[in-house]
Amino acid sequence: MKDTTNKPVLLTMRDIHIEGRSDETWSPIIKGVDITLHKGEVLGLIGESGAGKSTLGLAAMGFVRDGCRISGGTIDFDGIDLRAATKDQRRALRGKRIAYVAQSAAASFNPAHKLIDQYSEAPVQHGVMSRAEAEHDAVELYRRMRLPNPEEIGFRYPHQVSGGQLQRAMTAMAMSCRPDLIIFDEPTTALDVTTQIEVLSAIRDIVAQFDTAAIYITHDLAVVAQMADRIKVLLRGDEVEEADTRSMLSQPKEDYTKSLWAVRSHARPTQPPAEKGTTPVVSVRAVTAGYGQVDILKNVNFDIHKRRTVAVVGESGSGKSTAARVITGLLPPRQGQVLFDGKALPPDYRSRSRDQLRQAQMIYQMADTALNPKLRLRELIGRPAQMYLGLRGKALTERIRDLLHLIELDPDTFVDRLPSELSGGQKQRVGIARALAAEPQFIICDEVTSALDQLVAEGILRLLDRLQSEFDLAYMFITHDLATVRAIADEVVVMQNGRVVEQGPKDEMFQPPHDPYTELLLSSVPEMDPDWLTRLLKEREAKA
């Protein structure tokens, strides 16, 4: 953390208003936000989805997306009035003095050109370097970004390079003209935690080496704590508060900020392990499964007991979702079997009985695609009750109302709504109600909170907790987020490359000694401590 307040001011944005057009009318996106950024300073912009972070970040370059307009305020970059400047003046700044790093590097690199050609474009076009100098410089920056084979990697096409490497190559590209300011727009959101560490540390080092100012946009508090000197919190286009990172973390002033901080501390008491000899509700036995010739799951074993939550943890490609598909019968395993209450389930869901289907329900990650957009809540929730329990007429209506009460939605208001008339959290609640309507013993929760903002996710976790004790449910909770695991799991199964690398009760899992992969995974989860990244890198260096 450095003190930059005595350095000259680089960027001043005053009372910025931005509007977006929908159906011929303009509605506000940013409602009067100020930003002051000193040279070499990193400002973290944090907020939930829809807070207007990206729009504000782009506005710092004097840029708005199609269908948006800056309707008020001033933007002053190093003495240049960006709103009054001509298009050519603004263009001359972009890439040269203000650069941008996008969320998805895979989509933001042009598929038709090699990385090094795209690196050289800005310096050559802005007349900063010759082509040969730029290529030489690229190798230097690739090395500083700790990319493998820095001499050679530039001559590949974007689709030939992995996501984490592309994100670093994009940061190097942004650095090509040694800009005064870089806008980072959620650069690590799409990456796995273990990859995220490498990108975060590379970004932090290069920004420090060149004393570049940056605006770092993210929704992840722990990440911004590592990267920013100061943090500004946004809520629906308005500023909530701003302070330097340490005081923001230790003593937030506003209620909204406090509630954001508090989410991280939620945890429920762990249930004791099930008694020996009790039959698990679901038991996965020596399952090997996959598509085509490839095995995605290799000899996987785990049990899920009544009233217990088993968290299945792993990064993308670890096979955790495939395990869910085997249990539901969408993917019959090549070897092994799934037992329900001690009895083997038919491998294919089409050969399972109605009652077997009823007993295992599923809640999906994206409530948007999990609910048929053309059906009203009445039918979405009522259908399983009608199908499995044979409820009709009045009994069915009563049951639907009960279910809506259970998920804390008012039946009179909601029963005839379409999914599009609900918020993200409400949709996820409807997904839960649909699972409950079948009166199952077992529910698979597939990343149910990862698409939601933290406060909303918190509410969903509490609801699931309550329902579990009320109906004696067994949960299989698929997630990549260890904070969620801490909050709700009784037992943890860690997966990597289709194998279970470690499993056991949660309290043991968060205590050493660990399997090396579990260790890596656990240590890679960012913590709210601003010194966490520095400490972690030192520890890893010491070990190596």
Binding site: G329, L330, M362, Y364, A370, N372
Partner: protein, 307 residues
């Protein structure tokens, strides 16, 4: 000079059309309420004009006998009479009243095209939805057959088939509906394929829903918007195709009043500077333009609503 005058009249026609479209939209908003009125408010003037024209065509087709001054096939005077008060647009090559035949053409040409499109749609969309939902060998087999049929240009294919099966209205409808259903199949299948991968379909399958309910309750409601727009586009295509075939003399056969054949029968007049043959051709063009305008708006709305 004649070019300038033509341009002037085109400008007048466009201005009138825009006015009529605007008025019709205002009227439609006034008499409807709820979501329909809200949707109509987003309609551009072109779509308002399109809806007005379609409405007029439908009315003319239904009330043809009341509107037409003479009978459809009645010879009422000499050949190629000029325009006057008894024969609004003169008479045709056999001395039948041209205005009467234009009015009946709305019934015959539009009716046959509509029936053909409906048939093509029924077959194409049912098979397309089925192929996407069931997948596997059924999908493979149907798709390969459609690929082959679509590799033959449709006008050429229909000429070939009409040579074989002769040119009655029934064969015409069947041949064109068959050829066109392949296009509908493609669209319905690709729309349904995007829906089938959704989690809510997976949820419905895991719930144990049968094929019929899966298609009618879960897939079809979500495929309606693109399918309705496609119906408009296919109608235009079929309508133009039947008109082209009739114009070539292998479509709807005389003495049935049909716009495509009317152009062909009276084409000789054009070289004498008489615009009469352009009237049936214009009637075809106007309806197609109108449908396209409405479809364009619907597609625009559908793509806008997705975001």
């Amino acid at each position: 000079m004649s070019v300038l005058i033509t341009l002037f009249w085109i400008a007048v026609a466009v201005a009138l059309a825009m006015g009529a479209g605007w008025l019709f939209r205002a009227l439609a908003i006034a008499v409807t309420r709820g979501p329909t009125a809200r949707a109509l408010r987003t309609a551009p003037i072109s779509a308002g004009f399109g809806m007005l024209v379609i409405l007029i065509y439908v009315l003319v087709a239904i009330f043809a006998p009341l509107i037409a001054p003479f009978a459809e096939r009645q010879v009422v005077g000499a050949q190629f009479l000029p325009w006057d008060s008894t024969h609004l647009f003169g008479t045709d090559n056999l001395g039948r009243d041209l205005f009467t035949r234009l009015v009946y053409g709305a019934r015959n040409t539009v009716g046959i095209a509509f029936a053909t499109t409906a048939l093509a749609f029924l077959a194409g969309s049912i098979l397309g939805l089925l192929a996407a939902t069931v997948g596997g060998w059924l999908d493979q087999a149907l798709s390969r057959v459609v690929d082959i049929l679509m590799a033959i240009p449709s006008l050429i294919f229909s000429l070939l088939l009409l040579t074989i099966f002769g040119t009655s209205v029934i064969t015409l409808v069947l041949v064109i509906a068959t050829i066109d259903s392949t296009r509908v199949f493609r669209l319905a299948r690709s729309v349904a394929q995007n829906i089938v991968v959704m989690d809510y379909i997976e949820a419905a399958k895991l719930r144990g829903e049968g094929l019929w309910r899966l298609i009618t309750r879960e897939i079809l409601p979500n495929a309606m918007a693109p399918l309705v727009a496609e119906f408009g586009l296919r109608f235009c295509f079929v309508f133009l195709m039947i008109s082209a075939l009739s114009f070539l003399g292998v479509g709807i056969q005389p003495p049935t009043a049909d716009w495509g054949s009317m152009v062909r029968e009276n084409a000789a007049l054009i070289t004498f500077g008489d615009v009469t043959p352009l009237l049936p051709a214009g009637a075809i063009a106007l309806l197609t333009v109108a449908v396209n305008f409405v479809v364009d708006w619907m597609l625009h709305r559908a793509s806008g609503l997705k975001e």
